[in-house]
Symmetry: D2
Subunit: 283 residues, 4 copies
């Protein structure tokens, strides 16, 4: 019998970095959770324990902190690019280097009208994300996105006219709650962008489309959101959305002699619908 090494990668995960920028008028805080990895000609290591081509993952972690100190990057995408460039430049045995960054947003604390310039709280639950890979032949691939964004519509959402088989018990509805914990990932069709500006415009388009859409299904709302982003942000090539349907079930109060005109719901975590799709710009 003979066995061979297939696809493989190794690296460091959960490298946490908090950077404080101390400007005159106010401090600024950036928190990133970084993952970096290498793919390449490492079969000698896997098969025979020859470590001579292996950069320790501990060194990869050090690299994140050292580059964070010297870097001028203001976006996750730019910092990820610095990381993968460094690893490809210094590791001749790597065919590809990758970095994935998940941000925790901080904003200045406020109390009433007052804002405090050196005190912070989390911006919310949404985490922005960026992934970048660089091959040894010089090809970059990247995507940007977010995860953990709660969204809820209390109007303009129905679900009816669907396929019914002998196992179907769901009632049709023309007024339901539509709740989701959205995850998005998009690709740009150009380089040298102001990544933070493009991100803000993409998010705004996705959010507005979710809010105003007259939804006949989660699938249709997903498509409408992606279409709106592609229309609003010309540098977008493709948008992938994952919108789990976090059901809010209307409580049946009839046994207690009460009506329930779409007021009292049970939010549930499981089971949940899972709807995901990519929408692409064509020429």
């Amino acid at each position: 019998m003979s066995v061979v090494l297939g696809e493989n990668r190794y690296g460091k995960s959960r490298v946490r970095l908090l950077k404080v920028t101390r400007e005159e008028d106010a401090h600024r805080v950036t928190e990133w959770n970084v993952e970096v990895w290498l793919e390449g000609k490492f079969s000698e290591c896997f098969q025979h324990g020859d470590n001579s081509r292996i950069l320790p993952t501990d060194t990869m972690k050090n690299t994140v902190y050292s580059l964070a100190r010297s870097s001028d990057a203001v976006s996750m995408e730019s910092f990820a690019q610095e990381l993968v460039s460094h690893f490809i430049d210094t590791n001749p045995n790597a065919d590809k280097a990758g970095a994935r960054i998940v941000a925790t947003g901080w904003k200045h604390l406020a109390a009433g009208e007052k804002q405090f310039t050196t005190a912070f709280t989390h911006h919310g639950e949404k985490h922005d994300t960026a992934v970048m890979t660089l091959s040894s032949t010089g090809d970059y691939a990247s995507s940007s996105g977010f995860e953990d964004l709660w969204l809820l519509k209390t109007a303009h959402s129905s679900f009816a006219g669907y396929l019914k088989d002998r196992l179907t018990t769901l009632k049709e509805t023309d007024d339901r709650l539509l709740g989701t914990l959205a995850k998005a990932q998009w690709k740009y069709n150009s380089t040298g962008l102001d990544f933070n500006a493009s991100r803000l415009r993409t998010e705004a388009a996705l959010i507005e489309a979710f809010a105003v859409h007259h939804s006949l299904s989660v699938q249709q709302t997903l498509y409408a959101m992606a279409q709106a982003a592609l229309e609003a942000v010309s540098e977008l090539a493709e948008v992938h959305l994952s919108l789990p349907n976090k059901h809010c079930n209307l409580v049946d109060l009839a046994p207690f002699g009460q009506d329930n005109p779409n007021q009292i719901f049970v939010p549930t975590d499981e089971p949940h619908g899972s709807i995901e799709a990519s929408v692409r710009r064509t020429n």
Copy 2:
């Protein structure tokens, strides 16, 4: 040998409730996670399986939803009061009824300048809390608070002059990051309050004190926060704060020939300091 039943309670936990109020100009969403319980003369049930005095926890769950429909309560405290009153009124064998509510806040979605009146996202990670108990003799006890509020100071925090023994290796510092995941619980000295208004003023006082305090220790900052709340909100009798010290460690970049002027930190989850205390008003 003889054994006896000691303190006991039973009830229902994680009863999730989402209420939509459909006003003309906008919808409003309230999400509460409710726990209710009874304490009382239930030794026959525990010892002999006599269930005749046992209200099923499933009925307690139904009660939460039924009361939610008929209730006009606009605060967690008021709804908790309705719940415990109902349970004491209808369960002669209960010596005490309790309710604890944890809120998930929702706010209207926004994109740029636009606000959407029927679309929502979570307000943040902070969860407001309220606990209320009522004894069969008519005594109420209650507290209000919050949990899961991230706070971070990037200036005006030092820690020095502490006790040193042979196991002390910590370096003194006059400029450190102070991060915490705050939990607060307070008691009022009067009834018939506008609970939501008192809550907002208490939170604002706690937050402002955290932000402006020149901190010599987490202990001192905790006391300053509680004191500020007691001074600002006359109906407060006592404030209990739990401020775990979520350490942000300065990265040593010297091995790489770099300085680190309080810029690059590693935020950590464990181990963490645990500082908690109550501060009370004296007359």
Copy 3:
């Protein structure tokens, strides 16, 4: 207005410790998550930032590791006792010192009949616990227990004859599943025990009683478990059990023309019943 410091404590949490004992025939692994704290005359620190009486929580962490190296303790209880003794002996301003330890169990890896003496996997999900406090006047208080133990009965569990009010919709049953994620805490009536031996006997008594009990309610099963432990282990003074009722709901397959003779269930996490009580020995 005047405010005063009430009850307070500070310490270090989530101090993780893994100890390897390298005996000739096999290695042994102990993993403990330690929390230590002090209570005492610290109002100067809280009120004025005078740190001269404050032992840094970083030093407390160092103490855990240093004592772990020199300690001969084979039980969590004994190690907790060493910790609190050290802190009371060396901190004249402490009125009380406490330690809480949560264990993660490891056992030797096995494949078929083979056991491997230097390779391990987790023992299960149950975590053993121990809490010890020592006051400056020399009084010890301690408890032992466990948490996160899943238990499920598929026979001999009913629930009927309970109180019904106008909000009761639950059906009576003489054959249901009874599932729980048990938490236990017990106190001994003597000192100088072989803590590990007493723990094993207590757990065995609790588990056997759960398994063989003909349950009329969770409350009754809880009492039977505690009573069995008190009967089997003479050094037990009191047992506190928390048995959340993790409902397994029978699926209604009638709409699909199928019966369901207690075979197909939906296990749920929320809502859940919460039943807890203490049972004490009387002389």
Copy 4:
């Protein structure tokens, strides 16, 4: 501008199923968390809200429970096959149907020598997994595996001779702890297998190889484990392993005048190494 729907899928996640088999000598409990999904010609739904081809995810959930009642499947793989066959047979617009099952293992409770035939506890933390897809053209693809298996070696693990650059600070070691939370996924080269038997033999080979391997790196141990499984189980075509390096750091006790001969460690969750690879059988 023109946009088009790219890859898409929808289905139901976290469908929890607990099945009790009541045999004469003992009961048996199976707990599965099921995800099912469809891919296909659904662009009308996504683009225009035409739901006429959409089987509700609620119906998919019902299907899981209805099939579970009628099924004779004793392995996750067989039940997954029934599910995807059902969905492809009844949904002409689906190009592909998929099912993923994650098992929670239950075993009979024991106390001392006694085993209890109708009482259970979790088998451990490991979750077995199975994925199956079926295309409308009749092509099956499947994999089996597990996740959440803690493994720890306290001997025969070194890491030295690696690449060093100017950012490398890691010390070489010939005796370290090697801990991981293993995840495995494998594919078979034939059909009609006794899936449960093949699973047991694969797991035993992976575990024994981990335990006995003289490790020069995590990479080498990963390869040795996969190779051992491929050698032991002839129906295996490919094994993919993910072995995060859950570092256990030796505590430096020198500042306290103590040595630490590989006894006292700090187990950590972050950062962690991430090593993953596929190993395949050739001809």
